[in-house]
């Protein structure tokens, strides 16, 4: 199991990390080594073993549909890098989701 530099570049893009070429080179080597090590899980015979996603085996934890006080707009916007018209101002969005 190994990972190519191109794959690392793809992962960086998917992860929204603008990495330099030098960083890509460096990380590619390290990730290759790490992935090689973690791939050891594939040695384990686990057929029919259910995956464990939660450490606590409980179901149905709900809250009642009851209002809880919100933040004020001032609190909500206090840490924003930029605001306008009581909204979060963000750079232009190129793609529609």
């Amino acid at each position: 199991m190994s990972i190519t530099r191109d794959e690392v570049a793809h992962l960086a893009r998917l992860s929204r990390l603008a990495l330099s070429d030098a960083e890509l080179d460096h990380f590619a080597g390290q990730l290759d080594q790490i992935i090689g090590a973690v791939a050891r899980v594939q040695e384990v015979a686990a057929e029919g073993i259910p995956p464990m996603t939660h450490a606590v085996p409980v179901n149905n934890v709900f809250r009642d549909d009851v209002e809880v006080p919100c933040l004020t707009p001032e609190q909500a916007l206090a840490a924003a890098p930029a605001t306008e018209q009581a909204r979060f101002r963000v750079p232009r969005i190129l793609t529609e989701e």
């Binding site: 998917l14 992860s15 929204r16 603008a18 973690v38 450490a55 934890v61 206090a78 890098p81």
Partner: protein
């Protein structure tokens, strides 16, 4: 008097405050003074909240004067890991991307500490987003081990551990995802406890790996750890994974300090190659000591524990890659490259590249890889199955024994810089602690001596079934009592270089 106050245990301070022997303000001021004196060397704190701490102390003193009933930790100072939200102090998680961020809310743990009259001295250093075992991944420089300033204090809760070991605070809060409470506690020579997953609320704990993260106490004595454990635990409706059950009787267990008749299993897989000789020597001595105290010790095999490390390094980064997506420069935190021309997507990418350190980037990319379509089953899915097998190993073991024990870490504190660009070597520090995170059960680390070769502390780990946290305290307290008799005092009394 000032120095003496910082030498007291949390239980002693609380008693002194309650009786009026010392005021909470005096106690707090003594610790703040010590912080001023030691921080240039130790660098345990990212933010010291002097005025806020003194105001909280005054409040405790006022309540006492008014005859109000004080909690068992009222007036006791504490070092809070900078991963828990505080509305009157910054919360940075040791990351540039959150530098200066002040949350508009308190974590549940923060609220409970305040309600208990605990004095929060400030926010402590940590590996960025709790990813690491040395605090070297902090964007704000490493903390140093009070036993030897050229060594790491462990991590990721290295700041809280160093603060407690350096007598800057009698109590600390850490968070444990792969060993981040127990490992730094072990290498700093203090007590660190990872409660059962869900036993302490995660609300307001900035997530690293949601299915593993567990806040817990750090202290110089087992009883202090238990008192803090009790103060922060209990059901929280804001955390859906919070356990809705009574808090295990940890304080009573710490006072009981008795292992006679207890069945103790030594994990066979956690010894041999890769373990420092002095660590194994101290561990083995402790095993004999426990036996001499009336415990029945047997060796137990947990075959899948050897796969815990690889499973962990798939599960934790996968969750982290998703949890850390929100640091996108849109609503809070750092924003880089917003020149009016760059798109939101570009600003996100440039900010994240500038704001995250190398270990965080590695783990985000690793997690993104493990969750990708086509790789999910082979990596994340398989790791979750291994997690089940590890949990079943625990179940099988706990049918034979009441608790399991092992060294907390394979080695003592390593030199600063030694493993910083060797991720695989760094990851080995959590070899013994990870299984309890994956299974979600309770585990504590208690000091068991110094390794002869480097004079640095060794920790012994006690693991118990989920919700049987009290058993770990029973064993840890018994061992602590017996060892301190042998040493003629606490282990920390043997530490040199604490700026006396």
């Amino acid at each position: 008097m000032a120095t003496e106050l910082t030498r007291l245990s949390a239980a002693q301070i609380a008693a002194a405050v309650a009786s009026g022997e010392a005021s909470a303000v005096e106690v707090t001021q003594a610790h703040l003074n010590r912080i001023v004196a030691l921080e240039p060397d130790v660098h345990a704190f990212l933010h010291v909240a002097g005025p806020e701490a003194l105001a909280a102390a005054e409040d405790v003193d006022r309540k006492r004067a008014a005859g109000e009933l004080l909690g068992p930790l009222a007036g006791v100072p504490l070092a809070l890991k900078d991963v828990l939200a505080t509305k009157d102090m910054p919360t940075t998680c040791g990351s540039k991307i959150l530098q200066g961020w002040q949350p508009p809310y308190d974590a549940t743990i923060t609220q409970r500490l305040r309600a208990a009259g605990v004095i929060i001295l400030g926010k402590t250093n940590m590996d960025e987003f709790a990813m690491g075992s040395s605090t070297e991944n902090s964007a704000f420089g490493p903390s140093r081990n009070p036993w030897n300033l050229s060594r790491v204090p462990g991590g990721s809760s290295g700041g809280s551990s160093a603060a407690v070991a350096a007598y800057e605070a009698p109590l600390g809060i850490g968070t444990d995802t792969g060993g981040s409470i127990r490992q730094p506690a072990a290498v700093c020579g203090i007590v660190g406890m990872k409660p059962t997953y869900g036993g302490s609320s995660r609300y307001g704990l900035v997530a690293f790996a949601s299915s593993l993260d567990t806040p817990g106490p750090l202290a110089r004595t087992v009883l202090d750890a238990a008192l803090l454990h009790e103060a922060i635990s209990g059901h929280d409706w804001r955390d859906s994974t919070s356990v809705d059950a009574p808090v295990p009787p940890v304080v009573a267990a710490a006072r009981q300090a008795d292992v006679s008749g207890l069945r103790i299993g030594v994990v066979a897989e956690f010894s041999g190659e890769g373990y420092q000789a002095g660590v194994l020597a101290r561990f083995n001595e402790s095993v004999e000591l426990l036996e001499s105290l009336g415990a029945k010790v047997i060796e137990v095999s947990c075959p899948h524990f050897t796969y815990a490390l690889p499973a962990y390094y798939l599960i934790a980064p996968s969750e982290a890659s998703s949890n850390l997506a929100r640091f996108d420069a849109m609503r809070y935190g750092l924003r880089v490259g917003d020149d009016g021309v760059a798109s939101a997507e570009e600003v996100m990418s440039v900010t994240r590249a500038a704001g995250f350190g190398p270990e965080v980037k590695r783990r985000i990319m690793l997690g993104t890889y493990a969750l990708s379509s086509g790789y999910y089953d082979a990596y994340y899915g398989k790791a979750q199955q291994v997690r089940t097998l590890i949990s079943r190993d625990f179940d099988a073991a706990f049918e034979q024994v009441d608790v399991l024990i092992s060294p907390t870490t394979p080695t003592t504190a390593f030199p600063i810089g030694e493993r910083v660009d060797d991720p695989m070597a760094m990851y080995l520090a959590d070899l013994c602690t990870i299984p309890s995170d994956l299974a979600g059960n309770a585990a504590i680390s208690v000091p068991c001596g110094l390794a002869p070769e480097d004079g640095l502390p060794v920790g012994l780990q006690v693991m118990a079934p989920a919700l049987a946290d009290d058993r770990t305290y029973r064993v840890a307290a018994a061992l602590e009592t017996a060892l301190e008799q042998r040493w003629g005092g606490p282990l920390l009394a043997q530490a040199k270089g604490l700026g006396e």
